[in-house]
């Protein structure tokens, strides 16, 4: 069977952008959560988030001039991550031409401020159409979800197929899983797979706060996301992006590429329960993890670490813990289980990709990042959550979970570089 490895990575995240900065802060247990500064959130019930603050937008615009026109933050965040991954993998023009592109994206963003000038019109749609269509300033009301795939495809010359995935919180893991299956099935040698999202806008933050899944501890933002803690109040919205270059092992070896990790397995499932809540029995989560194990040809006892979905919402963390224990059996209590979101917040569509990148670095650097803020363990969450700081890791495999709003679940399994 064709083996698939990771040969390039790139990331934009609230704890730091760029592979080294991201990893240093993740291992140090640095929180990326703070008061929202991107807009005036002072009257919102939730006013904290994980903002990306260190992407060099001017530098990015030299490579992707379109960035200057973009109002949707997920576009530059994603482009920065993708550019870093491509550079890191040192792909040449031919490699890029034959590569396939798998992009995960979140929700379309429309700027409320474009519509409010017509709020008093009897027919808002007509007034808006008259204004926008005759405006001529080229300002697009709504950024299409395939925008970043188009920009990347055009600039990088990627011609091996483009997939635009909008599977919410599972998207980041699904794009990597889909790309992995494609290469393993023999349909190509290289894939650029990643995801990007930013819901840190008035409608995004406001909308999620209405769903009562966000922590409203506005005075202590760095402590607000506490996966697996008995006193957890909810997740924190973050923004970010990550991209991985996947390559067949044969192709990577032939060109002498450095390998971070191997992709061993991928599974996806649906809760088919409710759109608003995870299945309390965790059936979908179990299905996803079991499918990934089967796909990888591994037994539960061969998993050495779990990168949990770990959102910090009361429901997710107990359901996920139960599912991990049921799927991994006794092994669940022997291995570290950590939650990247304790530091980054929930980057929605991007989370799975950022956490996959963290899993690859866990394997290549031999360190498990900590779960921060877990001070009062929930009796129902009784695994080893790496609460005492980063830990040396000598294992061979990491299983990474992503469970999506609406009931979409995805699990990836990574192994040490061959």
């Amino acid at each position: 069977m064709t083996r698939v490895v990771i040969t390039g990575v790139g990331v934009s995240s609230p704890v730091g952008s760029g592979r080294e900065r991201f990893w240093d802060h993740l291992v140090a247990g640095t929180s990326g959560i703070s008061a929202v500064t991107l807009f005036d959130a002072s009257t919102l019930p939730v006013r904290i988030g994980g903002e990306v603050r260190d992407v060099d937008f001017a530098g990015l615009a030299e490579r992707f001039p379109e960035v200057m026109e973009e109002r949707d933050r997920k576009i530059p965040l994603g482009l920065a991550a993708a550019a870093e991954a491509v550079d890191d993998a040192d792909l040449d023009e031919h490699d890029l031409q034959t590569a396939c592109l798998h992009v995960g994206v979140g929700l379309e963003v429309f700027a409320l401020g474009d519509i409010t000038p017509y709020a008093d019109a009897e027919d808002i749609g007509r007034a808006l159409a008259d204004a926008v269509l005759n405006d001529g300033n080229g300002r697009v009301l709504q950024t299409p979800l395939d925008r970043i795939a188009d920009i990347l495809g055009r600039h990088l010359g990627v011609r091996g197929g483009r997939w635009v995935n909008c599977s919410a919180c599972a998207a980041g893991a699904q794009v990597i899983g889909d790309a992995f299956h494609l290469l393993r099935d023999g349909d190509g040698d290289i894939a650029l797979a990643g995801a990007t999202d930013s819901m840190l806008n008035p409608l995004g933050l406001g909308g999620f706060s209405l769903l009562q899944v966000l922590s409203d501890e506005n005075d202590t933002p760095e402590r607000a996301c506490r996966p697996f803690d008995a006193d957890r109040k909810g997740t924190v919205l973050g923004e970010g992006a990550a991209a991985l270059v996947l390559e067949t092992l044969e192709h990577a070896c032939a060109r002498g590429a450095d390998v971070y990790a191997e992709v061993l397995g991928y599974g996806a499932s649906l809760d088919a329960y409710r759109v608003s809540d995870p299945d309390p029995e965790g059936y979908g989560a179990r299905l996803s993890m079991s499918a990934a194990l089967r796909d990888a040809g591994l037994e539960p006892g061969q998993i050495d670490c779990v990168s949990a979905h770990g959102t910090g919402t009361p429901k997710n963390d107990t359901v996920e813990t139960t599912a991990i224990k049921e799927v991994l059996g006794p092994r669940a209590r022997e291995i570290p289980v950590h939650a990247v979101k304790s530091m980054t917040g929930h980057m929605i569509a991007a989370s799975g990709a950022v956490e996959a990148l963290a899993a690859a670095l866990t394997l290549s650097r031999g360190v498990v990042p900590p779960t921060i803020n877990l001070r009062c363990p929930d009796p129902e969450c009784d695994l080893d959550y790496v609460t005492e700081g980063a830990r040396a890791f000598k294992g061979d495999t990491v299983l990474s979970n992503s469970f999506g709003f609406g009931g979409q679940n995805a699990t990836l399994i990574f192994g040490k570089a061959p």
Binding site: D40, A41, S42, T43, L44, P45, L107, E108, A111, L112, G113, T116, P117, Y118, D123, I124, G125, R126, L128, A129, D130, V140, Q142, P144, L145, D146, A149, D150, G153, R154, R159, G160, G161, R162, W163, V164, C166, S167, A168, D178, H181, D185, P202, G206, G207, S209, L210, L211, A268, S269, L270, A272, Y273, V275, G284, D295, F405, G406, G407, Q408
Partner: protein, 365 residues
């Protein structure tokens, strides 16, 4: 499927053959400012007719309601009992959704309660007034993956899945994902499809801004947006036979390519060349009223020696359903296959706006 020309694929084919058209003026907004002033609406659709007294319908936007209805029809048409014929985890679900933009009426109150004295967005007012008046369920109506998640809930599907967006080429990717999942042995059955609603003012603004209506200004012809949803049940042949399924057609092959920068006819020729050497008796064409794509498709089909008489052109009759279009094309292809002798071929073309172009070869059984 649920389309502007009906929900029974064979009946829709007949209506297309007899020249019926669903093209008309939008019923919900004034299209005067737009270069395209027509659309194709699904009239009289009531999701409760499919799922009586189901409270979950209230959480859904129209896209999702169309999706659950179409998926239900497809599963029923296949005579498929999920959980009995197949374990729920053995059934994959790959779908495509369009822009999540919603009818302006749905956000009017939000807009009015967020406007400042100068007409700009007053973020403080947004937090104090608008947000409090938003129903939390709005989130379920604007997330792009929700229609497909609702399908999973309504049909009890729990297998591998993905949601793609936003154009017909990504719809072709969803169909191809289902084929791949079955051929690789990962699942024996996949429900694939999509939904889209492009019949409201906000969608028209977005489409016009993205250049979809450009040809209307240039030539008075072009894409007519529509709404609808369609799903196809794909199964591993032996498993389908074993459960006594009525097989509508065999999917022989499929090809989806990225075509940026290529001349459209050359791009399509390359896609069609990926379908193998056997020439089809019928083609379900993807070209709509947009002249460049229509001519490109005719040219490409001409290269394969195909005559116009063998070509069905659904979009001229029921509009362009964008994210749902590939699945609509597949439904109509499967219906057309039933009118052919066993072994005869059809090609189903799936392309439109966006970089991806696909086609599938079906065989009558």
């Amino acid at each position: 499927m649920v389309t502007p020309l009906g929900s029974d694929p064979e009946r829709v084919l007949d209506r297309i053959a007899s020249g019926e058209s669903a093209v008309g003026e939008p019923s919900g907004f004034d299209a005067a400012p737009f270069d395209c002033r027509f659309c194709c609406e699904v009239t009289g659709f009531d999701a409760e007719a499919y799922f009586p007294e189901n409270k979950t319908l209230r959480l859904m936007n129209r896209d999702a309601q169309l999706a659950v209805a179409a998926a239900h029809l497809a599963v029923r048409d296949a005579g498929l009992s999920i959980g009995s014929d197949y374990d729920a985890a053995e059934v994959a679900l790959f779908g495509t959704t369009g822009f999540a933009g919603m009818p302006v009426g749905d956000v009017a109150r939000l807009v009015r309660n967020s406007a400042g004295a100068d007409g700009g967005l007053d973020l403080r007012r947004f937090g104090r007034e608008a947000l409090r008046r938003i129903r939390p369920v709005l989130s379920f109506k604007i997330l792009a993956n929700m229609p497909i998640c609702f399908v999973s809930i309504f049909e009890g599907i729990r297998g591998p899945n993905a949601v793609y967006t936003p154009w017909e080429g990504q719809g072709a990717r969803a169909v191809a994902a289902g084929m791949r999942a079955i051929r690789s042995g990962r699942v024996p059955c996949a429900v694939v499809g999509g939904c889209d609603v492009k019949t409201h003012a906000f969608a028209f603004i977005t489409l016009q801004q993205q250049g979809v209506f450009r040809s209307w200004r240039q030539s008075g012809k072009g894409t007519v947006p529509g709404e609808g949803a369609a799903f196809v049940v794909l199964e591993e042949r032996e498993r389908a036979r074993r459960r006594g399924a009525r097989i509508r057609a065999r999917v022989v092959d499929g090809c989806v390519r990225t075509t940026d920068g290529e001349a459209p006819s050359e791009a399509l020729s390359a896609v069609l060349a990926g379908l193998g050497a056997d020439r089809p008796d019928v083609v379900v064409a993807a070209g709509d009223g947009e002249p460049v794509r229509r001519e490109a498709e005719d040219l490409a089909l001409g290269e394969f020696g195909l005559q116009p008489g063998t070509v069905i052109r659904p979009k001229g009759h029921l509009g362009d359903l964008f994210a749902a279009a590939a699945a609509v094309q597949m439904c109509l292809g499967a219906a057309a296959a039933r009118k052919l002798r066993a072994g005869r071929r059809l090609w189903v073309n799936c392309f439109g706006h966006g970089s991806e172009m696909g086609a599938f070869a079906l065989e009558a059984v």
